[in-house]
């Protein structure tokens, strides 16, 4: 058994930022991460991070209030407005801080941080480092974590929470290098494990974006919020769904259909290609569905050729490399085939503006949390911002929480029992007589999510999808491991993940069926308008150990800063 005051699960931007904040306050903090923190999914973010710095010549009139408003409107008013205001308020200082820590942002001629236009934003406020902003931010925070000597347990797969009398007191983790489960006790746990993109087969996310933090908290009784809102990015590569940044359109790229039209003028005449992602993604899908995909196939073109080689090489070198390596297309010479792809998880663990959940001692930040600042649809450039703003806030909140504690000794018996339970569970996975194959089930689940809970949803299709997910959940009980070795057992990790992912998929399915309206990323062809009268509220999903699906509840949206209005771009 290993003890630290604070344990942060996940070494991406949120986790690192939370750990750094706690460490700077002198708290003994450790990060547990499935991969080395520098390899986290945060590093895949490309386009940039929003803050109303006003560095861009066209952005001199930008301010934090406008940033908050764009965020609220982008989220189709399901955003808790006080949280969005707080995020926009914190944005400049956290970005300046990242710069002081050495983040290699691109620069304007006057030496200030460069900003580019981004989807759904009234001003160019997206700070960027070429098209590798996430990579640069991530490495900057990894470097700071090393500087501050934050303890990092690398390649530890966190499998469950230790909960004693309703208080979170640590986690149980599988040591991938040395093998075996270990209990890590703590006075507070921060979950920062990212989204669950891998529940969809067509996702831009990393292979480790399985939502493990979400289902751990969910299984421990913490509600998940707004799970039906899943973002689909307009431009993933056609064959692999690897992300082609919104920055490509921010720099002036066009979306072109088979007739050679910039079809976005039909759907968002003012914002064109820079409409929010939900609208752009649906527009692309309509073009494809109506036979105007390129050559009648299932994709459209992202055309960058008119930007010229110089601009592409300077501002978008990363996506050029990706297009060449993974699609065999050089954007300087040819347009890139793109399709809408699952990208981001607006929902997540229900937290307040400081990352606190309903369970004492348990905090969450980043994509796995739902504050909610993204509402029904996240704006590009706000997710990197969210990770750092709310990572920092969660780190600070944890320190405050520790000061209120009188008894700091976690219950050893609970910790021991939790570790033993995981060991038994895995042992049982190895010996049981199941005939099911985890990979087939995973494929079924991810295809169901793609086919039934994608851009356009309707009652009948979703009912069928839910049925099939319930079947998967039933079949998951009959999986057995094909390899039971202790070191780097990928088979075991992927099986344990699958069980939780099915539960997350069910939250999406049940929530989406329940919400009879269209709002942001959740678009129903049978209820195709926003219904503020009945549905201006958050969905909460609670785990029910005895039932297949979640129990749903709701929670009001915090308004008060901006008037509701129709969402047009």
């Amino acid at each position: 058994m290993i003890h630290h005051d604070v344990i942060v699960v996940g070494g991406g931007l949120s986790g690192l930022r939370a750990a750094i904040e706690a460490k700077r306050a002198g708290v003994d903090v450790a990060i547990l991460s499935q991969v080395h923190p520098g390899r986290s999914h945060s590093g895949q973010a490309q386009g940039g991070i929003n803050a109303a710095l006003g560095n861009h010549p066209d952005g001199r009139d930008d301010n934090r209030e406008k940033h908050a408003f764009d965020t609220v409107k982008g989220g189709d008013f399901l955003v808790d407005q006080d949280c969005a205001v707080q995020m926009a308020e914190d944005a400049p200082r956290v970005i300046y801080e990242m710069d002081h820590w050495g983040c290699p942002f691109s620069r304007f001629e006057d030496g200030t941080i460069a900003q580019r236009p981004f989807g759904g934003a009234g001003f160019p406020r997206c700070c960027y480092g070429a098209d590798k902003t996430g990579h640069y931010l991530l490495h900057t925070l990894v470097e700071q974590a090393y500087r501050l000597q934050v303890k990092m347990y690398v390649e530890q797969y966190v499998a469950s929470l230790i909960v004693h009398e309703g208080v979170c007191q640590g986690v149980v983790a599988y040591d991938m290098i040395r093998g075996g489960f270990e209990a890590f006790t703590a006075n507070a746990v921060v979950i920062a494990t990212g989204g669950a993109g891998r529940t969809y087969s067509n996702t831009t996310n990393s292979l480790i974006s399985t939502g493990c933090g979400m289902f751990m908290a969910y299984h421990a009784g913490v509600p998940l919020k707004d799970m039906e809102f899943v973002q689909f990015h307009p431009t993933g590569l056609y064959t692999t769904q690897i992300l082609m940044t919104e920055g490509a359109r921010g720099e002036g790229g066009y979306l072109i259909n088979d007739k050679g039209e910039r079809f976005m003028e039909k759907y968002a005449p003012k914002f064109m290609e820079l409409a929010p992602r939900d609208i752009t993604a649906r527009s692309i899908q309509i073009e494809i569905n109506e036979g105007r995909g390129i050559g009648g196939k299932g994709y459209v073109h992202l055309d960058l050729r008119h930007l010229g080689a110089e601009k592409i090489l300077e501002r978008l070198p990363g996506i050029r490399d990706l297009a060449i390596h993974f699609e065999g297309v050089d954007p300087i010479e040819e347009p890139i085939p793109v399709v809408p792809s699952q990208h981001y998880w607006m929902g997540g663990i229900d937290t307040d503006v400081n990352g606190a959940t309903v369970m004492p001692g348990l905090y969450a930040a980043g994509e796995c949390a739902c504050v909610s600042v993204h509402g029904a649809n996240r704006l590009g450039g706000n997710s990197l911002l969210e990770t750092i703003v709310f990572g920092r806030r969660a780190g600070a909140e944890v320190v405050r929480y520790l000061e209120t504690l009188t008894d700091r000794r976690p219950n050893a018996r609970s910790a021991f029992a939790a570790a033993q339970m995981m060991e038994q569970k895995v042992e049982e996975l190895g010996v049981r007589e199941g005939k099911e194959n985890a990979y087939e089930l995973r494929a079924v689940m991810t295809e169901v999510m793609k086919d039934h809970f994608f851009l356009f949803r309707d009652e009948a299709a979703m009912r069928e999808g839910l049925e099939r997910l319930l079947q998967v959940k039933e079949r998951v009980k009959n999986i057995n491991l094909r390899w039971t070795g202790s070191v780097f057992n990928v088979d075991m990790i992927r099986t344990v993940e699958l069980e939780g992912m099915v539960d997350l998929a069910l939250c999406v399915a049940v929530g989406a069926l329940e919400r009879q309206e269209s709002r942001g990323a959740h678009f129903r062809t049978d209820y195709n308008t926003r219904d503020d009268l009945n549905w201006l509220k958050h969905t909460l999903a609670y785990y029910q150990p005895d039932a297949a699906g979640p129990r749903l509840d709701s929670k009001p949206v915090t308004l008060g800063h901006f008037e509701l209005q129709e969402r047009k771009y």
Binding site: G38, V154, L322, W483
Partner: protein, 242 residues
């Protein structure tokens, strides 16, 4: 579409019955004309052998997890399309010259210890301004190359100077030192220079340039190291590195 043969180097040092390295062959079937080596490994893991271990994460060549030795060269498994290897036999081995954990997973502890040793962070002494630190596009351009390093370890594994030499820092750590020394915002010359400006640091680099060939991101660690050597001379003679 076609089937392709994978030859994968397997070894489980913890397996008492068979702790030795051996090669195993698998037929990987795929549709269309795109199959990355990483997808091939998942296919093997899913269809043939759940015990196959390898690192994976982003599958988009930015996380640096899947550096391997594929058909005689250092490559990222996710970035390598079998089509481009132009062969019907794919051999996959772990990065050589590093301690093995299992199958394709190597021990990177030493690699990161060296990374940490060169103080890979921006060192500042003056107080920070209220806004950003001003850096001209020309100054920013100087860090273009080294900031793209993904710490995959290919260069480190390929460097003959680092083979069997525990105390040589290796190309990745030194490139990171270069990344900060060359950054106009960094003020850490005095602290950091002692870490790399010595006979176990930059002067173990004999410009063999394997690292340049190995780097899947097409970076040039040797250039960074040579810059450091020149910077050390500038500091001795002129009192400043940049």
């Amino acid at each position: 579409m076609p089937d392709i043969k994978f030859r994968v180097k397997r070894q489980d040092p913890g397996d008492k019955k068979n702790p030795e390295a051996h090669w195993e062959e698998y037929i990987v079937h795929y549709e269309g004309d795109n199959l990355t080596v990483l997808e091939g490994l998942f296919y093997i893991q899913e269809k043939y052998d759940g015990g196959l271990s390898f690192r994976y994460c982003c599958r988009a060549s930015i996380c640096g997890s899947c550096g391997m030795y594929i058909n005689g060269a250092y490559r990222l498994a996710c970035q390598t399309n079998v089509k481009h290897l132009d062969t019907d036999l794919i051999t996959v081995a772990p990065m050589p010259h590093l301690p093995l954990v299992k199958d394709l997973v190597v021990d990177m502890d030493e690699f990161f210890a060296k990374y940490e040793y060169i103080m890979p962070w921006l060192i500042r002494h003056s107080s920070d301004p209220e806004k950003e630190l001003i850096q001209s596009p020309k100054e920013r351009k100087k860090i273009d190359m080294p900031v793209d390093c993904i710490l995959c370890g290919c260069c480190y594994s390929s460097c003959p100077s680092a083979w069997g030499e525990d105390n040589y820092l290796g190309p990745a750590a030194l490139l990171k030192a270069h990344r900060f020394e060359v950054d106009s915002r960094d003020e850490g010359g005095k602290e950091r220079i002692a870490r790399w400006n010595n006979e176990r640091g930059v002067y173990r680099c004999h410009t063999i340039m394997n690292c340049v060939e190995a780097c899947p991101k097409e970076l040039n660690p040797t250039e960074g190291i040579q810059w450091l050597k020149r910077a050390a001379v500038r500091r001795k003679l002129l009192g400043k590195a940049k």
